[in-house]
Amino acid sequence: MAYSFRRNPVAIVSLTVFALIAVLSFCAPLIAPFDPYDPGQIDIMNSEYPPLWVNGADAQFMLGTDDQGRDLWSTILYGTRLSLLIGICAVALQAFLGISIGLIAGYVGGRIDSLLMRLADIQLSFSTLMVAIIFLAVTQAMFGSETFNQYAVYFLIAVIGVAEWPQYARTVRATVLAEKKKEYVDSARVLGFGPGRIMVRHILPNSLTPIFVISTVQVANAIISEASLSFLGLGMPPSQPSLGSLISSGFDYIFSGSWRITAIPGIVLVVLVLVINLLGDWLRDALNPKLYKG
C-alpha cells in the first residue's frame, strides 16, 4: 500500500494538501491572528478590506475582511475546523449506525433483514438535504434561534449522521452476505461462538475495505451537506461561521465588488472536498487487489 502510494502523484499531492488543511485548521487558535468568535475583536469599521495583493488593503488582514469586519483568514481557519469536525463526527455516527444495522441485517437475515433494508430504502428515498432541512427547520422553530445556535454543531452532526446511514448499511450487508458463506464463519459457529462475537470479531474485520472507501467519500459528502445547510441558513449561525455560512454571508456582496468574501472560502471548500475524494479514489484502487498495477 505504501508502494502504491509512492507511485501515485495524485495521492501524494492530495494527502499533502489534506494534511496541510487539517493541521492548519486544527491549530486555528494558535495560528489565527484574530478570534472570529470574539465580538470584542471585531470592528465593523474594518469591513470589506480586500486581500493584501490588492490596492487599499490593510496589512493586518492577509485575505481581507468580511462584511462584519472579521479577518477572513482567521475565519476560514476556524470555519474549516468546524466543517471538518462536523464532517468526521457525522461520518462516525453514520458508520456506527450503518455498520451495526448492516451487520445485523446481513448476518441474521430473514425478516429482520427485510425490515431493516426496507427502512434503509425508505430513508434513501428522502434526499439528505430534504430530511435535514425539515429536521433543522423544525428544531429551530421548537427551541428558538438562541438555543439552536448554541447546539447547532450537534444538531448538524446528528441530522447528517442519521440521514446517510443506509449507504453504510447496504455496503456492509453486501459484504457480510459474501463473508457469511465462507467456512471460517461456519468454523466459528461450530466452536460455539455467539453471533455477536462472530459478527464483530470475524466478519467485521474482513468487511473493512469497502467501509474505508465509502468513509472518505462520505466525509466529503458530509462537509458539502453541512456547507449547503449553513448556506441555506439552517446550519451554523453567522456568529460561529463554518465554511458554508461564510460563503453564504459573502453571497450578498458577490456583485458589489467584494466577491472574494464568497470566493475564497468557496475555493477552500472545493479543494478540501476534492482532495478527500481523490484520496478515496486512490484508497479504493489500492485496497482492490484486482486493480493492482505493478
Binding site: 465462507k182 461456519d186 468454523s187 459457529r189 460455539g192
Partner: protein, 348 residues
C-alpha cells in the same frame, strides 16, 4: 461382537431445502388451474446411522448426494427437517446455542477448504487462542499459550510461526492449523468434511496420517466425509455409501471392499482407477442421477439399477446391511440374482 452404546446416532434424519420461498413463488399454473405448490430439494432422506466410540465412519458418495449436508446437520450448522440426532444418548438437534455449548467442546468439525476455513485477518496465535479462552475462561494467560503450543506441536507446526497470518502458509499447513484449531478444545468426536480433497496429492497422505495419529493419541471418533475410496480403505473402520440422500449400503470397510452388496456400491468400486488393469471393467450406470427435487417414492436407485424390477418402485429398500437382510436388495442377493456378473460397459 457386542455393539457398545453409540457415541452418535442419527434416527430417520431428513433435510429438505425449500426452493419456493415466499407465498408468490409457491403459486403455479398446472393444467389451466392455479395451484399452490412447494418444491423442495430432498438433500437427506431418512438416514439412520450409528457411530460407536473409537470408530471412523466414512461417508462416501458422489457430488450432491448429501454428504456435506449430513456433516452440517450433525455439527448443528443446519437444523434437520425431520428425525433426531443423539450424542452420547442425548438428543442434540433441537438444542439452543447455549444448550449446545458443552457439546461444542466434545464435537468439532474440520472443513473442506483450508483457504477459507481460517479467518484471514487473525494470526495463527489469535485463531488458536480464541476457542481455548472462550471455552475455558478460567485459564491463565500462560496456560492458554501452553495449550496453543501443545496443539501446534501435535500437528507439526512450529509454535514460533504463531505470529503469522494464514496466507503465509501452504494449503497443507493451513489444513493442519485448522485441525489444530479443532483440537484446542480437546474434542472426542470430529466431523471431517472432505478434509483432504482441496489438497495436493502429496500432502493428502500427510494430513490423513496426522488425523490417524490424533485418533490414536487422543482417542478420537471420526465421521469422515469423502468421495475418495482409496482414502476410505486407509482410514475408515465402517463405510456408509450415500446415493441421492439415502444410505444404500452400510458395512465394515473390509467387508464392503471385498463383497459390495448394493449395485451402486459395485459400480462405485469398479470406478476406482487401478494400475494393474489395462482394460478396466467399469460398471457403466445408465442415465443420470434423478433430480432431488420432489423425489418419487421407492428406491432412489431404481432408475439406474441393472437389477431393478417391479418390487423396487413402490417401497424404498433399507440399506444393505447384514443386520437388515430383509431388504429387497439383500433378498435378491440371497437368491443369487446378483451372483451373475452385473451389466458391464459395452465397448471400451
Amino acid at each position: 461382537m457386542k455393539t457398545p452404546q453409540p457415541l452418535l446416532e442419527m434416527r430417520g434424519l431428513e433435510k429438505r431445502f425449500e426452493l419456493d420461498q415466499g407465498f408468490l413463488e409457491t403459486i403455479k399454473l398446472r393444467g389451466g388451474k392455479i395451484v399452490q405448490e412447494k418444491r423442495a430439494v430432498h438433500a437427506v432422506n431418512n438416514i439412520s446411522l450409528q457411530v460407536a466410540p473409537g470408530e471412523a465412519l466414512c461417508v462416501v458418495g458422489e457430488s450432491g448426494c448429501g454428504k456435506s449436508t449430513v456433516a452440517r446437520l450433525i455439527a448443528g450448522l443446519l437444523t434437520p427437517s425431520a428425525g433426531e440426532i443423539h450424542y452420547d444418548g442425548q438428543r442434540i438437534d433441537n438444542r439452543s446455542r447455549r444448550a449446545m455449548m458443552p457439546l461444542r467442546k466434545k464435537m468439532q468439525m474440520i472443513f473442506q477448504n483450508p483457504y477459507a476455513s481460517l479467518n484471514p485477518r487473525m494470526t495463527i496465535q489469535q485463531a488458536l487462542e480464541e476457542p481455548v479462552r472462550y471455552h475455558n475462561p478460567a485459564l491463565s494467560r500462560s496456560d492458554v499459550r501452553d495449550k496453543v503450543a501443545e496443539v501446534m506441536r501435535a500437528v507439526g507446526i512450529d509454535p514460533s510461526w504463531a505470529t503469522r497470518y494464514p496466507h503465509e502458509f501452504s494449503g497443507g499447513q493451513r489444513q493442519r492449523i485448522a485441525i489444530a484449531r479443532a483440537l484446542t478444545v480437546d474434542p472426542e468426536f470430529i466431523i471431517a468434511d472432505e478434509p483432504i480433497s482441496a489438497l495436493d496429492v502429496s500432502i493428502q497422505a500427510q494430513v490423513l496420517n496426522l488425523m490417524l495419529e490424533a485418533k490414536d493419541q487422543r482417542g478420537l471418533t471420526y465421521l469422515f466425509i469423502t468421495h475418495d475410496l482409496s482414502v476410505v480403505q486407509h482410514f475408515g473402520t465402517k463405510v456408509a455409501v450415500l446415493y441421492l440422500g439415502s444410505v444404500c449400503e452400510l458395512a465394515d470397510t473390509a467387508t464392503l471392499f471385498e463383497n459390495p452388496k448394493h449395485p451402486y456400491t459395485r459400480a462405485l468400486l469398479s470406478a476406482v482407477p487401478q494400475l494393474k488393469d489395462d482394460h478396466p471393467n467399469h460398471i457403466r450406470l445408465r442415465g443420470e442421477i434423478p433430480t432431488p427435487i420432489n423425489l418419487p417414492p421407492g428406491c432412489p436407485f431404481e432408475s439406474r439399477c441393472a437389477h431393478a424390477n417391479s418390487r423396487c418402485a413402490p417401497n424404498n429398500p433399507a440399506p444393505c446391511n447384514s443386520l437388515m437382510a430383509r431388504s429387497p436388495h439383500a433378498m435378491r442377493l440371497k437368491k443369487g440374482a446378483w451372483t451373475a456378473k452385473p451389466r458391464t460397459g459395452g465397448t471400451e
